[in-house]
């Protein structure tokens, strides 16, 4: 089973291409079922792997490499062929992530059958979903960080096309661009971290990097730089402070896509990457500390912003940001298992909440929670599912979530009829998971046994064994119940009088929260600043560089060319002409000398020339010489004779 694990990302990819290229757009097209079937197959495989790992039938981690490409390189002055492998690496966390991704993707696709019915780009939507899933699965299974990075970027691209899926309206393309560019900002750091890893280790293979770190070759400074770079990428993808600004706007996409982004694919990627490279963080206390603080700040900021939001999806988005902050915080505090555990349970209940929200929006056609109410009678399934999800996320004992946050969602829905079955069945499944997955996974520390970080020898964290005191749990639970009571008091009525009065009294605080701590303005100002810088650079380029250097160089060359032309014209050509002219004038002179038309004179010249030539060529024997000299004398004599005047 494991030897074919590389098919898990490839099959949704193939399905995506088949759907995209192989069918016409048709509301009754069976193509969506192809995507569902592909994801379903991956889900079965993932469950099989997970089950095998859980029962011990499969020994993890499993790694397999294939040759990808080779290139010439030099090391220490010696040239050699570098063989870049591509491979899969399945460890406990990957097995869990596979199940999470495929399960959520599968349920979202089933849900979308109904939610997206009648959309003019129904088929393309499924192609994109499959592509999204394939990218994320590739990221999960790859053992080569370069391939992981490629998949990482494909995940970003998929989220871009899905957030901007309804591009006819003005907001989705804007949100898509915002998400894409914001995450690219983080990807820059990740890219630099990857380069640094390759410089340091000479390999992108995670097992080799791990080996390198485990043997203590990785200097702490390099580990810190790499860790901060990876954190930068993860902060973009997983919406950590200060790059979380894209996630609330990403609500512009279809709601099932939001579920997918928030639960399984996009935002989980950052957390998963940090977990995948955890061994690098393990040797850098600074990077670890930064991860923890980033997570904590993010969680706090997002939770406070959620309090003042009325858009149901936006509240959920802030909730996601907050939960992601908790995960980061857990990872940064050596809580490897805790972070990934929360990732898993969060995937279940956040997918549930989003699909519930989608169900509600589908029914009432508004996102504003103030206009909803009394939905428990009209939509009982959705109501109970939301309740389960809310209890889970709030950390009510018995439900899967164990962190708390202010969640003001329940009892504010309004609707006429229950959603059709493709939308309710995934709700049931997720409700069950949200309610019980915590129990199932937490029993006997099963999850921790499966997903844990093997401490590097000699580098075990000092405070790993520090357990939280038991009463902390009760404090937290009490705080949760108090918060729920408070929320019920404030928002339970129909006119929100108390909430409004509080809002009036704390107007500056509310304003700060509603403007999301002015982070958007900060980034816009940053963009404006860089815009000004770019304009300045452009001005320098066009006015200084182009004018003085490029144009000046051209003018210099022109002058030089003119000089060359002058030289050629007046000296070279003139000398050629002069040679010809000399020949002409010489010939004219000769002709003038001999042109008198006297045949005897011609004969005389011939004889004289012949005699001289004879003198030169003949062997210098005496009589010949004498004869020749005589001939020459005769010629001169004759010349004198001929020249005599008649």
């Amino acid at each position: 089973m494991l030897q074919h694990v590389y098919l898990i990302p490839l099959i949704p990819l193939a399905a995506s291409l088949l759907i995209l290229l192989g069918a016409k757009e048709d509301p009754r097209s069976p193509m969506p079922f192809l995507g569902i079937a592909a994801t379903g197959w991956c889900l079965l495989q993932s469950i099989a792997i997970f089950y095998g790992a859980a029962t011990g039938a499969l020994s993890l981690p499993y790694a397999a490499d294939w040759s990808w490409f080779t290139f010439g390189a030099t090391a220490g002055g010696k040239p050699f062929l570098y063989d870049m492998p591509v491979g899969v690496l399945i460890d406990g966390s990957a097995a869990v992530m596979l199940v999470v991704v495929t399960l959520v993707s599968f349920l979202v696709q089933v849900y979308s059958l109904s939610y997206m019915r009648g959309d003019p780009r129904f088929k393309r939507y499924y192609a994109y979903l499959s592509f999204f899933t394939a990218s994320m699965l590739g990221l999960v299974v790859s053992s080569n960080l370069l391939v992981t990075f490629c998949c990482w970027e494909l995940v970003g691209f998929s989220s871009y096309i899905l957030i901007g899926f309804w591009f006819e309206r003005p907001e989705p393309p804007y949100a898509a661009k915002k998400a894409f560019i914001t995450t690219k900002l983080g990807d820059l750091g990740l890219y630099l971290a990857l380069l640094l890893i390759f410089c340091q280790v000479g390999s992108f293979q995670i097992p080799q990097i791990r080996e390198y770190v485990a043997r203590g070759f990785m200097p702490a400074a390099a580990a810190t730089a790499i860790g901060l770079g990876i954190l930068c990428g993860a902060a973009g993808k997983s919406a950590q402070f200060p790059l979380f600004i894209w996630l609330p706007d990403a609500m512009e996409g279809p709601t099932p896509v939001s579920a997918l982004i928030h639960a399984a694919t996009m935002v989980a990627a950052g957390i998963y990457l940090v977990a995948k490279c955890y061994f690098i963080f393990a040797v850098s206390p600074v990077a670890m500390e930064t991860v923890a603080w980033t997570g904590a700040i993010t969680a706090l900021l997002a939770a406070t912003m959620a309090v003042v939001s009325y858009d149901i999806k936006r509240v959920l988005a802030f909730s996601t940001v907050s939960q992601l902050g908790f995960m980061m915080c857990a990872l940064g505090s050596w809580g490897f298992s805790a972070g990934l555990f929360h990732l898993t349970t969060h995937a279940a209940f956040k997918a549930l909440l989003f699909l519930c929200a989608g169900s509600v929006i589908h029914a009432v056609h508004t996102n504003d929670m103030r206009q909803m109410g009394n939905l428990d009678k009209k939509m009982p399934i959705t109501f109970f599912a939301t309740l389960a999800g809310t209890f889970a996320i709030a950390g009510i004992p018995g439900f899967s979530g164990f962190f708390s946050k202010d969640m003001i969602l329940e009892k504010v829905f309004e609707h006429d009829h229950e959603s059709p079955w493709p939308m309710t069945v995934p709700l049931f499944v997720l409700m069950a998971l949200a309610a019980f997955s915590g129990w199932l996974l937490d029993r006997g520390e099963f999850f921790t046994r499966l997903v844990h970080f093997d401490a590097l020898p000699g580098l075990a964290p000092a405070h790993e064994a520090a357990h939280a005191p038991a009463y902390l749990t009760w404090y937290v639970t009490a705080a949760v119940f108090f918060a729920i009571y408070l929320a019920y008091r404030l928002y339970g009525g129909s006119n929100f009088r108390e909430a409004e009065s509080i809002k009036r009294r704390c107007a500056p605080v509310f304003n700060l929260l509603e403007r999301r701590y002015y982070l958007d303005e900060f980034f816009l100002a940053l963009v404006g600043l860089s815009d000004q810088a770019a304009r300045l650079a452009f001005w320098i380029d066009s006015e200084v560089v182009d004018r003085f250097f490029v144009d000046g160089w051209g003018l210099l060359m022109l002058a030089l060319a003119r000089l060359c032309h002058l030289f050629d014209d007046s000296i070279i050509d003139r000398s050629v002409d002069a040679t010809g002219g000399l020949s002409v004038s010489l010939g004219g002179t000769l002709r003038w000398i001999v042109r008198r038309g006297l045949v005897q004179e011609y004969l005389l010249w011939s004889a004289a020339v012949m005699s001289v030539l004879t003198l030169l060529t003949l062997p210098a024997q005496r009589y010949c010489l004498g004869a020749s000299v005589g001939l020459g004398l005769l010629a001169i004599l004759t010349l004198l004779l001929v020249r005599r005047p008649r």
């Binding site: 042109r595 008198r596 045949v599 005897q600 005389l604 009589y623 004869a627 005769l634 004759t638 008649r646």
Partner: protein, 101 residues
Amino acid sequence: MSLGHYLLLGAALFIIGLFGALTRRNVIGILMSIELMFNAANINLAACNSYLHPAGVAGMTLAVFVITVAAAEVVVGLALVLAVYRNSATAYVEDFSLLKG
């Protein structure tokens, strides 16, 4: 009598002919001087043949051909002289300048 004597005779004849060809003003005289130079060459041919290669006849044969060519040349030359004389009523070469460029 050695080969040198014959060659000296030939050279003397040739120079006399050349001198005549260069100095005579009458065309007929020039033609006769040219005949002298032909015969100087013929003497050289015959002498060289009999002294240097007594068994062969190549020199003699060539001399016979030269005599023939000389006769033909005289025929052509006299015909030209006659034509020119009829045109310009003179036999002096200074007056023959029709081909002057």
